[in-house]
């Protein structure tokens, strides 16, 4: 059984990348933090006794599922917001607060991007955000989390062939997006 220190070390190692992954996916700083926290708690609650070598895969699986749960909740929420907006369309006190939560954070308002030192970094991050969800997921798991294809497939709940396809398309899409912004692929 791994010690609490091992779990702590693992989480310390992975937490920033997990936050960025969630932020790429949901484009909302607070929601990304909530997702990472939920994932950490689920890992600790359910799998604290699992072998430490299994933590990365388990955590990524939990993280991706939590991100998907967030999408589902947002979908339901958007449905009701749009349905209710039909009745409240004429009112002045519309639900601006709710809409603000749903909308992605504006780039100019994102303090993280203001802190980024290189323009290229912000461009890369924007390009990653623009990727389709599954391509981004595959790309980040495969290359950032350094999972092999089988592990990525397990974490994503799809076949290895799908992982290869998603990764390849993601890299090509990123190359095209960045080329449009003036970053050449050498």
């Amino acid at each position: 059984m791994p010690s609490a220190d091992e779990l702590s070390r693992f989480l310390a190692d992975v937490e920033r990348r997990a936050y960025r992954q969630a932020a790429f996916a949901v484009r909302d700083e607070q929601a990304a933090l909530d997702i990472v926290q939920d994932s950490m708690m689920k890992l600790a609650e359910k799998y604290a006794g699992a072998p430490a070598a299994e933590f990365p895969l388990l955590f990524q699986r939990i993280l991706q599922n939590t991100i998907r749960d967030y999408y589902r909740r947002q979908k339901v929420r958007n449905f009701w917001v749009s349905a209710l907006s039909f009745f409240t369309a004429g009112r002045d006190d519309s639900d601006e607060e709710g809409q603000e939560h749903i909308q992605p954070t504006e780039e100019k308002d994102n303090p993280y991007n203001q802190l980024a030192t290189g323009k290229n970094l912000a461009l890369i991050e924007n390009a990653i955000e623009k990727l389709p969800a599954r391509q981004r997921e595959a790309f980040l798991l495969r290359y950032w989390e350094e999972m092999d294809i089988a592990e990525t497939a397990t974490a994503m709940g799809c076949s290895e062939g799908s992982v290869k396809t998603h990764c390849s398309r993601a890299v090509r899409a990123l190359a095209e997006l960045l080329q449009d912004k003036g970053i050449k692929n050498e």
Partner: protein
């Protein structure tokens, strides 16, 4: 294009961006991590998992809470019906006996029309 090499270049850029996260965010991540570790330390799941991947009874109850709630509801309904029937049937015993006597011809068919029937029933039930 070498996709792997290109991807690794981008990942290197992303890795370089991690230290730039705002202190508030890193602090919140640290707090979340500490909470998770505290939960792991005090959780019984760790023990159950290590002991042959078994499941504690609290885990089992939590997993089957909806089924258990349904079963309890059915049991409560069944038990309530049984109690209601057993307590309610006694009140109708006299009427049932009159019905039986009517059917077997021990009483005239217009016995219910007799104003003294209820008195007769209560008197006969006293014995």
């Amino acid at each position: 294009m070498n996709e792997d090499a290109y991807a690794k270049e981008m990942i290197a850029a992303l890795d370089g961006s991690l230290p730039l996260l705002r202190p508030e965010i890193t602090e919140q991540l640290r707090l979340a991590r500490e909470q998770a570790c505290a939960l792991a330390t005090h959780s019984s799941y760790a023990h159950s998992y290590s002991a042959g991947h078994g499941v504690t009874w609290t885990d089992w109850v939590r997993q089957h809470r909806f089924g258990l709630a349904g079963m309890l509801l059915i049991l409560a309904l069944g038990g309530g019906t049984a109690v209601w029937q057993s307590s309610g049937n006694g009140k109708d015993d006299n009427t049932a006996s009159v019905d039986t006597e009517l059917l077997t011809g021990d009483l005239p068919v217009n016995a219910y029309l007799d104003g003294h029937l209820s008195k007769w029933v209560s008197n006969s039930s006293a014995y």
